[in-house]
């Protein structure tokens, strides 16, 4: 096992192993995320990016190994502790927006702040500001079912950034977006991270988007292959696996 990590690692993991119902997803990964950096985790579908982000962001409990955040252990925390950590310290953007459908855009963005105990006024002011910054200020009072996927994803990004958490995890946040919108959202995400000194862990299957990151690691079959260097791969498959399987069988 390696020695203690450098002091400036905000999140670090050592030898984490995680499997889903017997299928190994992570096979012993050690990784450190430095304070204030934008780290890209690349790899094809099924390489374990989402699982790694899930373990680092205290959503999934690891089977083996250790996860630390700011010199305190995450792997020993119970459910309530992980919940508190997620609420107070981490932001998360998934590959789908997963907005609460009955809340308006600004309520969705203000929700994490309200959950953390912020006042109503402060929460909604921050929500409006972030929606404006992400170019969705004009739909702040609309519900997600009236909006297109791209707008919903921007709202999801605003929701993750509004509480200004020390670490933001983005799991393929550009999956539902077309190229132009994807670039814009990533630019906003990375520039917000840099200007507010947030740490951003960005998982992406698109090797081209690595240029937004300060550093990149590549995952293949649950193992880190080439730390600190992006691995150029062929054109990755488009669309979600479930949807493609279904459309292939539908006539």
């Amino acid at each position: 096992m390696s020695a203690a990590p450098p002091d400036n690692d905000v999140v670090w993991a050592r030898g984490i192993v995680k499997s889903h119902y017997g299928t190994p997803a992570l096979r012993g990964i050690s990784i450190g995320v430095r304070d204030g950096e934008v780290l890209a985790v690349t790899g094809p579908r099924g390489s374990g990016k989402s699982t790694l982000l899930g373990c680092l962001s205290a959503q999934l409990a690891v089977d083996e190994g250790e996860v630390w955040f700011n010199s305190s252990p995450v792997h020993t925390l119970g459910r309530a502790g992980r919940e508190r950590l997620r609420r107070d310290r981490f932001g998360f953007v998934g590959s789908e927006p997963h907005l609460v459908p009955e809340l308006t855009a600004r309520e969705n963005v203000a929700l994490p702040l309200l959950l953390a105990g912020a006042g109503n006024k402060a929460a909604y002011t921050a929500a409006d500001e972030w929606l404006e910054r992400l170019d969705v200020g004009d739909v702040a009072r609309q519900r997600p079912d009236r909006l297109v996927q791209g707008q919903c994803q921007r709202i999801a990004v605003a929701r993750a950034l509004a509480p200004l958490p020390p670490v933001v995890f983005a799991d393929d946040p550009t999956a539902p977006l077309h190229r132009e919108a994807a670039e814009q959202v990533l630019r906003i995400l990375t520039s917000a991270a840099r200007s507010h000194q947030l740490t951003l862990v960005l998982a992406t299957h698109d090797p081209e988007l690595v240029r937004f990151a300060d550093r990149a690691v590549a995952l293949v079959d649950g193992r880190l292959t080439a730390p600190a260097a992006p691995v150029p791969r062929g054109t990755p498959a488009q669309g979600t696996p479930g949807a493609s399987a279904v459309t292939a069988t539908r006539r």
């Binding site: 919940e83 981490f90 998360f92 997963h98 609460v100 809340l103 929700l111 959950l115 929701r159 279904v246």
Partner: protein
């Protein structure tokens, strides 16, 4: 065979639903065969025979209602089954007929068990007290029980098939259901309630002329005037239709002002689900109100209680309650994504549980108001 193979994949809720459908169908079949037996024992029964047959309609409707609501929840509860059947080449029509066939099979099984029991009891096993109900000593025309018993699976199956929207039989075809209520959907029930209540008050005013042709109510409930009954029916229908919009308004009220996350999630959630929760809850409230009114009347009037209406009430109540449970399960599964997203944001399970509790409390209060009004109007009409 296909249904048996599907049944092998049943989990406890599916099995429970299937058995409940079969049981309810068996009871309805018993009512139908009893009316047949009575008609055979007393061929000149006249209007009594028709009335007995008509009294089989509420339980039949209850079974069909439960079958429809349960079938409506299949695309949400078993998306993998829909995806698998689509992958196997089944189209929208075939999937609907499969869902309907499952229900019809359960109903057929229940009916056949009752028919066998009926035939066994007819074979001089039952005592003289049951003889007129079974039509003992009269030859049984084969077509009659078959026709009557085909009615149960047919009604329930058609109700189930019609309840599943065609676009939901495609994988990923589940769309977010609409949440609002149109102006007509709000104005019509309010109009019905106001007009119905006003007419009932007029019909029951102290100086009102006595109705020359009173309606004799079944289940030992005495008699009432046509005007009062019609007025009560209108207001009850209005209150039932108003339940959905009322739930939506209750949700808005919960989230009014500057809501805390608890009130925000509870209120907005209720408003969003009012359209789906409204109908089954309205039916349950209506049934409970009617049953409670009847029980109250029975307690106040000696020798009026009867076993058969009580069984019928239990069946209708059970079906209405099961429909509510089925719809709740459907809503819960539909919201799994949202719940997961909220948990990922760091919302505590306690907060989510609190939101559900608050929502339940608000729904209960609303239903108490509509159900109480229905029951009060019914009780007034019974005097």
């Amino acid at each position: 065979m296909f249904y048996l193979r599907l049944a092998r994949g049943y989990r406890v809720p599916d099995l429970g639903r299937w058995l409940l459908t079969a049981l309810a169908a068996a009871v309805v079949a018993a009512f139908l065969l009893r009316s047949l037996g009575r008609a055979m024992s007393d061929p000149l029964g006249g209007t009594d025979a028709v009335a007995r047959l008509l009294w089989c309609l509420p339980p039949l409707a209850a079974v069909a209602w439960f079958a429809a609501v349960a079938a409506r929840s299949v695309p949400a509860r078993r998306p993998e089954r829909i995806a698998g059947l689509t992958a196997a080449g089944a189209g929208s029509r075939r999937i609907r007929s499969l869902i309907a066939g499952e229900v019809a099979l359960a109903c057929t099984l229940g009916s056949v068990v009752t028919l066998l029991l009926f035939l066994v009891l007819r074979n001089d096993i039952a005592g003289p007290s049951l003889a007129p109900d079974l039509g003992m000593g009269v030859p049984l025309p084969a077509a009659a029980p078959v026709t009557l018993l085909a009615l149960v699976p047919l009604t329930a199956g058609i109700a189930a098939a019609c309840a599943v929207p065609a676009n939901e039989t495609l994988p990923g075809g589940r769309t977010r259901s609409r949440t609002g209520f149109g102006a007509l959907r709000i104005a019509l029930p309010i109009g019905l309630v106001v007009v119905g209540a006003a007419l009932e008050l007029i019909a029951l005013r102290p100086g009102a002329a006595v109705d020359g042709r009173p309606i004799h109510l079944p289940a030992g409930l005495g008699s009432t005037s046509t005007d009062a009954l019609g007025a009560w029916a209108a207001s009850a229908l209005g209150l039932a239709l108003l339940t959905g919009p009322l739930l939506a308004w209750t949700g808005r009220l919960l989230a009014v002002g500057r809501p805390t996350p608890l009130r925000l999630l509870a209120g907005r959630g209720l408003t969003a689900q009012a359209r789906r929760l409204g109908p089954p809850l309205a039916v349950l409230t209506l049934v409970v109100a009617m049953v409670l009114t009847t029980i109250r009347y029975w307690i106040g009037t000696p020798d009026s209680a009867d076993a058969l209406p009580a069984i019928e009430a239990c069946l209708v109540l059970g079906c209405a309650a099961a429909a509510v449970v089925s719809r709740l399960a459907e809503v819960r599964i539909d919201r799994r994504d949202v719940t997961e997203a909220l948990l990922r944001l760091g919302a505590s399970p306690r907060l989510l549980f609190g939101a559900v509790a608050l929502r339940t409390l608000a729904v209960g209060t609303t239903l108490l108001v509509t159900g109480g009004a229905t029951a009060a109007l019914a009780a007034a009409g019974l005097r």
